[in-house]
């Protein structure tokens, strides 16, 4: 029995994914649990494992964007025939319009919203004519004359395959372009010249498209197409900017924290414990005591979380990602370091799984290693707080009326004011500061 490999839904709200490449070829033996292909979702590029053992009989989709649930390959037994039904052209998952009944006659004038998603229909059924065949002769030339001569006439948009692909990848709507190719065909250059807009897979509060877009064709300007991750970062941060926030800044004396990190390194030679690990642990403990900070705001309710799932902002090659250390309050310092080392390494190798990025309740962004003294971070929605951590450096401070030099670290908490009041945020930050200065208090 063969089994179909369908594009999995790897996270809430995932409607489609982009197959980057297959790690097996047709005819290869595949064991259940073995990495089968690389999938790019709007959160991460990850390897997806085979759910069945057998021979990879057929790869139905070599690469490109695929809606969730579509069959992308077939695994079966050696010699078995694999056939994959051509995916029926259906409206995109979030299409506003009602689904089009399949029995709908092909002559019907498609509305423009459907035309956008119905490229497959058009290519899969080339013989269907827009009008009854009256000419009889010159069969081959007829399709060209049956097509509208101009784009935007309500019919099919005439665009080269490359232009279609670029438009798809860059989120450019072909309907908005006028083609400069023969007979008004949209060619790749037209897409390149067009203003690009990130694909909107979910609504963004407010209208951000009015922002003046940079010109792409200027001399000496390199136009780098947005990766999914880059588009997601842009979309999420733009959404985050809409949230009313306030910032709180404190500095902590890191003398004891540094000693603790040093001691932890001696005791756990197998893993390098860092200040970030201590911060993760301490923030988790502080969140456990300040549950009104470990929250998320929704229009209907305030969600309070029982565990502290702490996200660590990581600069991966492809862009910023925030893998999450779950239930950080339960981990020892060494376990935290272990978990952090694992996700950071996988983030840098582009091997994060969707699950690594989900269910965070709080984020730490540490730029101390770059010598940044202090900065403010932008919220990582739907989370309600993010801690921006600067460098630990010797600074003069006053102790018992004397000026002394101490290793000081400045951190700034950005807070979603819809969810958290100023005093609650300040109280939480005071706890973090006291835990850092006196780590034993965190016990």
């Amino acid at each position: 029995m063969s089994s179909e490999v369908k594009l999995p839904r790897l996270g809430q709200g995932m409607e489609a994914g982009t197959i980057v490449k297959w790690l097996k070829s047709e005819g290869d033996r595949v064991e259940k649990g073995e990495p089968l292909y690389e999938l790019d979702t709007d959160k991460a590029t990850q390897e997806v494992e085979a759910e069945a053992s057998g021979v990879l009989l057929k790869i139905a989709v070599e690469s490109g964007e695929v809606p969730v649930g579509q069959t992308i390959a077939v695994i079966g037994e050696e010699g078995e025939q694999a056939s994959v039904e051509e995916p029926k052209a259906e409206p995109a998952p979030q299409a506003e319009a009602a689904p089009v009944p399949e029995s709908e006659p092909a002559e019907a004038e498609p509305d423009t919203s459907r035309a956008r998603h119905s490229d497959k229909t058009a290519t899969a059924r080339p013989q269907e004519k827009a009008e009854p065949d009256t000419s009889g002769a010159r069969h081959g030339d007829e399709t060209a004359t049956a097509r509208p001569q101009e784009n935007g006439g309500g019919g099919r948009v005439k665009a080269s395959p490359l232009a279609r692909r670029l438009a798809r990848e860059r989120g450019v709507e072909l309907e908005t372009l006028s083609g400069t190719g023969p007979d008004g065909r949209i060619v790749a250059d037209d897409v390149e010249q067009a203003q690009t807009r990130p694909t909107e897979t979910r609504p963004v509060p407010g209208d951000v498209t009015e922002v003046q877009q940079p010109v792409h064709s200027a001399e000496g300007v390199e136009s780098v197409p947005l990766t999914k991750i880059r588009a997601t970062i842009a979309r999420r941060l733009t959404a985050a900017w809409e949230i009313p926030v306030f910032q709180l800044t404190v500095s902590a004396d890191m003398t004891l924290a540094n000693e603790l990190v040093e001691r932890a390194r001696e005791l756990n030679p197998g893993v390098r414990v860092t200040v970030t690990d201590l911060l993760t642990k301490i923030c988790a403990m502080a969140l456990s005591r300040h549950r009104n900070v470990n929250v998320q705001f929704t229009d209907e309710a305030l969600l309070k979380f029982a565990t502290a799932n702490v996200g660590i902002a990581v600069a991966a090659t492809a862009g910023l990602v925030v893998p999450v250390i779950r239930e950080a309050e339960r981990l020892s310092l060494a376990e935290t370091a272990q978990a952090r080392a694992d996700i950071v390494e996988r983030a840098r190798d582009g091997k994060l799984q969707q699950a690594d990025l989900e269910h965070g309740t709080f984020t730490i962004s540490n730029l101390g290693m770059f010598g940044v003294e202090q900065f403010t971070a932008i919220l990582n929605p739907p989370q309600a707080a993010i801690l921006a951590v600067g460098a630990t450096e010797p600074r003069p401070v006053v102790r018992d009326g004397e000026i002394v030099v101490r290793p000081m670290m400045t951190m700034t908490l950005t807070v979603d004011h819809r969810a958290i009041d100023g005093a609650d945020g300040a109280d939480f930050l005071r706890t973090v500061k006291s835990f850092l200065e006196e780590p034993a208090l965190a016990l």
């Binding site: 080269s160 395959p161 490359l162 279609r164 692909r165 400069t180 190719g181 023969p182 065909r185 060619v187």
Partner: protein, 326 residues
């Protein structure tokens, strides 16, 4: 580096193979004392004698049949069919025998036969002596098909054809025999199934064979003057086809022209075009253009012949259509 003509390149590959391996021998019409109707085998009878450079009766079926028999017995015969138009007389032996024995014997029998032939228009040989029939043979599983466009390619590919254990149809083009290029003294074998990027470019890939490689080069120079950068790829081996190189080039340039002297309709270029759209559809920014002979027998009259076969201007026009703007 010494200069080598296409004709002497073929001759050198034959002579070197015969010197290196006594199983290699030649058969064909008038190839011995006369040295072949195109002079390719001149001097070989004198060096190797009548046992190894054998004249045959005027029966293409018999020549190919004898070649198949010798090949099955372990020889590496290289036979010459004087004009590729005459291949039609030997197709039973080529298609039903040479191409099938290895498969039907479960691999127990090999047919390491090389069939050299030449053809092509451009010198008024008329309708029966000028056709380009490579498409007939690339359609047959079990055969390899080579069409060299340069002296170095002819020499290196013929050597590999002789030492291939399968029947190979080796097409030469009449107009290419006198062309020259620098060549190392020693033969450098060229593996079958590898295309050659003849000229690098960025705007459009011209996939060309035989004389159309040279016409495409001329067209590319003219296009360059108009700011169009043309890449030219010669598949060299038509079967098996190096789709990887062709597809990679088209993915780079996003446009393709396929050019050969053979009749365009149902031609080899139709297959190349189909492969490109199958494997590079999402990279194509313009319809793939085909350049080939008009669907008509070739005339004796030079102006009529020139009208039917594709010229440099036809390639240039196709190149421009791929980058055209309305």
């Amino acid at each position: 580096m010494p200069e080598l003509t296409y004709r002497s390149a073929v001759r050198q590959a034959l002579a070197d193979a015969m010197r290196a391996d006594e199983n290699v021998f030649l058969m064909g019409e008038d190839i011995a004392e006369m040295g072949g109707s195109m002079g390719v085998t001149q001097g070989l009878f004198e060096e190797f004698g009548g046992e190894r450079v054998r004249n045959t009766p005027i029966s293409e079926m018999a020549i190919v049949g004898a070649g198949i028999g010798a090949a099955m017995q372990g020889m590496r015969p290289v036979i010459e069919i004087m004009y590729e138009d005459f291949l039609t007389l030997s197709l039973e032996q080529i298609v039903n025998q040479a191409a099938k024995h290895r498969y039907m014997s479960g691999g127990q029998i090999k047919v390491p036969l090389t069939i050299r032939t030449q053809g092509g228009a451009g010198w008024s040989p008329g309708a029966q002596h000028a056709q380009q029939l490579e498409a007939w043979l690339v359609h047959v599983p079990g055969l390899k098909v080579v069409f060299a466009s340069s002296p170095n390619d002819a020499r290196g590919l013929l050597w590999s054809s002789i030492y291939d254990d399968n029947p190979v149809i080796f097409f030469e083009h009449r107009l290419l025999y006198p062309i020259k290029e620098d060549a190392p003294a020693e033969i450098e074998p060229i593996p079958l199934g590898k295309a050659r990027v003849v000229r690098e470019g960025t705007d459009v890939t011209v996939i060309a064979t035989g004389p159309l490689v040279h016409r495409s080069l001329a067209a590319a120079e003219q296009a360059e003057a108009e700011g169009i950068s043309v890449e030219i790829v010669d598949p060299r081996t038509l079967q098996p086809l190096d789709t990887e190189t062709l597809v990679a080039s088209v993915k780079k340039t996003n446009r393709a022209v396929v050019a050969h002297e053979a009749v365009k309709r149902m031609g080899f270029g139709a297959e190349v075009t189909a492969v490109l759209q199958e494997e590079a559809f999402d990279w194509l920014d313009a319809p793939i253009e085909r350049v080939g002979a008009k669907f008509a027998p070739l005339a004796f009259a030079p102006p009529m012949e020139q009208y039917v076969i594709p010229q440099t201007a036809d390639v240039l026009a196709a190149v421009k259509r791929t980058v055209a703007r309305s």
